[in-house]
Amino acid sequence: MRLPTPADLCWNVKCSPDQEWIERTLRIAVENVWPQALEAAHSRNGHGSHVVEIVESAIEHAVCRLKTGDPLGPEQVTQLLQRLVLQEVRRRRRANGRMVFVGSSEELPPTPVRNPQIQIDCVLDLEIILQGEPRDVRLALLLRYSRFRWSEIAAALGTTEAAVRLRCKRAIERIREKQEGEQHES
């Protein structure tokens, strides 16, 4: 990130003529603190995009304190600004709770919702519906699905049409219920 000039960051520092030392020492302190502020913002918030706001906020607090005290040298102002920058970083981190945003949403890996295979598994799934059904029922339903008539299925399975339909009745009812449910949802 390009290093802003101290003048950029101290834009809102307004002091009376007898307190011009505040602006002067703060400009030096900002130059000293900037790399550390950038690093702290990065390591604590996951990105350095708010570092300008953080330093500006720290400057504002520093000005308030310096106006009420005795004149300080650049080193002492640098220490004060360092402390205030770290406080501001912590405050912002607390405000964001436990959420840490690293990078943009474009960099995120695909979510399960975007995965078409998962989406398919959410729709009417005959494998799941027919889980636990006896083999003859499953075969009969496969044959019916293949457009065999019930009488043909009965002949293939060596039984009567009434028997095979009775065997498949419960499974068919479950499919109907599920399918009607799907229709209502869509």
Binding site: I120, R138, Y145
Partner: protein
């Protein structure tokens, strides 16, 4: 004559997508299974033919349904495969045409 009734007379001529409001409850459950086929064709594409049984097994299912086992069909794979469903419907149609010609 209402649409549902006319549907029963012209079962093969009317598609379900034209009349989505037709009730499922018909005598031989054909509407239910047609709807299921549409559903599988729309939601379970399998261009790589993963887990598909050999086409010969599907042909055998159509020609001699009593001879095919669930294991040979990879259990209920067909219910989750648009490609197998499409092939089955094609084979079934061909068989019907053959039978009609005879």
């Amino acid at each position: 004559m209402n649409v549902a009734l006319s549907r029963s007379f012209r079962k093969d001529a009317v598609t379900l997508t034209e009349h989505p409001f037709i009730p499922f409850d018909n005598e031989d459950d054909s509407l239910l299974f047609e709807k299921l086929q549409e559903h599988v064709l729309a939601h379970y594409p399998n261009p790589e033919r993963k887990g598909c049984p050999d086409p010969a097994v599907l042909r055998s299912l159509i020609d001699n349904p009593g001879d095919v086992t669930l294991a040979a069909l990879n259990d209920l794979h067909i219910f989750k495969c648009a490609e197998c469903t499409r092939l089955l419907l094609k084979l079934r149609q061909k068989k019907k045409q053959r039978e009609a010609a005879e």
